[in-house]
């Protein structure tokens, strides 16, 4: 019995793996970089303290919110949401085929499919990594000021977001049903649409709802560069020190984003309920 115990103990794994010298240096360097980052970010307690009263001043001067331009602002807010909705829908429609190309394991391994996979992944990454504000600037140059530029920017941004997550959802789908259809002689194309897409559908829908929330938030900002929506109203109000108007706009944005998020959460939980059975 005692022998058995000591034998077992000798085979116990270490609680921690002792880091090697190289790892240790890496950890220290990482920590140093984090500390340095705060300095680089201009972190300053004194500015934080002196900024307090200025913020309080802004808040006191912005209260109560002014209601005089409410009709115009409501129209601008609606336009903001319409941009988000239209842009997201266009983006989702464009994402689907791109995601099929960018999902591993849907096509037979070959040199061509590797090339298609890599280039579509790169394209999606480009759409995703360039910030939507930059896309908005580009589209303002291309199609002029106004909501259409913003809609295009949101569409591109959505392709970057949905393209990636749609592709990953399709990669994660169970392989059995697709194998069954392949065994029945179905083509790749039919197999993807009959076996992979339905199984990935809950994931597609939740991703799309997230994309809509994201688009609603960014459509507010896009107005700042003249790409339509309520953002431009906010900028003008701020530039003219009309803080009461600015507060109205901020609150309206808050309510809109909150509503979209609530609806999104509700719809998602409905869908997940349906798929857990």
């Amino acid at each position: 019995m005692a022998d058995l115990l000591t034998f077992n103990r000798s085979r116990l794994p270490e609680r921690f793996e002792r880091p090697g010298a190289l790892h240790f240096v890496a950890y220290v360097a990482l920590l140093a970089f984090v500390v340095w980052s705060f300095q680089g970010a201009g972190w300053s307690f004194s500015a934080l303290v002196s900024g307090g009263p200025a913020l309080a001043d802004f808040l006191s001067r912005s209260w109560p919110p002014s209601l005089e331009r409410l009709p115009q602002l409501s129209k601008a807010l609606l336009e903001t949401f319409q941009m988000a909705l239209a842009g997201t829908l266009i983006g989702i429609v464009l994402s689907l085929p791109l995601a099929v190309l960018a999902a591993k394991g849907l096509t037979r391994p070959s040199l061509l499919s590797r090339a298609v996979y890599t280039s579509s992944r790169l394209l999606i990454a480009l759409f995703r990594t360039v910030p939507d504000l930059v896309w908005a600037l580009v589209f303002v140059i291309a199609v002029g000021l106004g909501p259409f530029a913003g809609t295009l920017a949101i569409a591109v941004d959505t392709v970057g977001f949905c393209g990636r997550f749609f592709a990953e959802a399709m990669e994660d789908v169970e392989k059995g049903p697709a194998e069954a259809l392949t065994a029945a002689g179905a083509s790749r194309f039919d197999t993807i649409f009959c076996a992979v897409v339905p199984a990935a559908m809950p994931s597609f829908i939740t991703t799309s709802l997230f994309a809509l929330e994201k688009a609603t938030r960014s459509s507010v900002v896009l107005g700042l560069v003249g790409a339509g929506g309520i953002g431009i109203e906010l900028k003008v109000a701020m530039d003219f020190f009309d803080y009461q108007l600015a507060m109205t706009i901020i609150l309206m944005i808050f309510v809109l984003v909150l509503c979209v998020e609530r609806l999104g959460t509700l719809a998602r939980s409905r869908i997940l309920e349906g798929s857990s059975q």
């Binding site: 059995g176 069954a180 002689g185 083509s187 039919d190 009959c194 076996a195 199984a199």
Partner: protein, 271 residues
């Protein structure tokens, strides 16, 4: 229960004598020298050879992990064997192009060990998918889009496995046994010349299991469909086959007519 089954199997002569099955020109499936390994040191099949004659019912037995499912997958090139050749309906598909492969696969109804139904769509849609090998395109994607004739035929297939009343139920809401029967209906939808069934009744209750095996027998006897199935039930394997193959550690160790075999003979090939 096993005894009468055994007798009834012995009473009917096999459609194709086993001794000639290998050389029979009417040979639906003939695999030779299949080798398959997963990774470097997971060799699963070492030169598996067997054949299944036209309208013959062949049982494939062997313990867990012996390589039965792998052999069946290789026979349709769902996974690529490293070596060996496959003749399906006389066509060499060892190096067939995708188009030829699809045409030949469409003639084989493959029932998987795990039913492999598409979740979130109806049982009827799953059955209609069985026709995709013959006619692809949108109209075969869902019962919503399918032509009336196709829906009728799919309903008939569901009816054959006793599930016509569950047609519009979502596949992921069916019980395990119901799912397996829908998978069989999907295979029937292909109007196959041959059915390959990997443990088709493992998840069915005894009555449903026997019904399905009886259906298979009826298909071979009356409609001339060739059958290759695996089973862990040696009595069932004997009762419903003309010939039994046993596979052990990736090699075929038995290939004999069922009529001359007893359950005890088969039991030896486990463990």
């Amino acid at each position: 229960m096993a005894q009468p089954l055994l007798q009834s199997a012995g009473a009917v002569a096999p459609a194709v004598p086993a001794a000639h099955a290998g050389t029979n020109p009417l040979c639906d499936l003939k695999v030779e020298g299949l080798c398959k390994s997963f990774g470097k040191d997971r060799s699963v099949l070492h030169g598996v050879s067997f054949s299944v004659g036209r309208e013959e019912a062949v049982a494939l037995i062997g313990s867990n992990g012996a390589g039965k499912s792998t052999a069946l997958r290789c026979a349709l090139r769902l996974i690529e064997p490293e070596a060996g050749s496959v003749l399906l309906f006389g066509e060499d598909i060892s190096s067939a192009r995708q188009r030829q492969l699809r045409r030949v696969r469409a003639e084989v109804g493959f029932v998987f060990q795990k039913h492999n139904l598409v979740p979130r769509v109806s049982a009827l849609t799953n059955v209609i998918h069985g026709n995709l090998g013959r006619a692809g395109g949108m109209r075969g994607w869902s019962q919503l889009l399918a032509a009336t004739a196709l829906r009728d035929r799919a309903m008939a297939c569901l009816d054959r496995v006793g599930l016509a009343d569950q047609a519009l139920k979502r596949a992921d809401q069916l019980s395990g046994g119901q799912s397996q029967r829908v998978a069989i209906a999907r295979a029937l939808m292909q109007q196959p010349r041959m059915i390959v069934a990997d443990e088709p009744v493992a998840s069915l209750d005894p009555v449903a299991g026997q019904e399905v095996m009886d259906l298979f027998r009826q298909l071979t006897r009356e409609e001339g469909i060739t059958l290759l199935f695996t089973s862990h039930n040696v009595q069932q394997a004997l009762a419903y086959s003309d010939r039994v193959l046993a596979i052990r550690q990736g090699e075929v160790v038995l290939d004999e007519n069922s009529s001359g075999l007893s359950a005890a003979d088969l039991g030896k090939h486990y463990g």
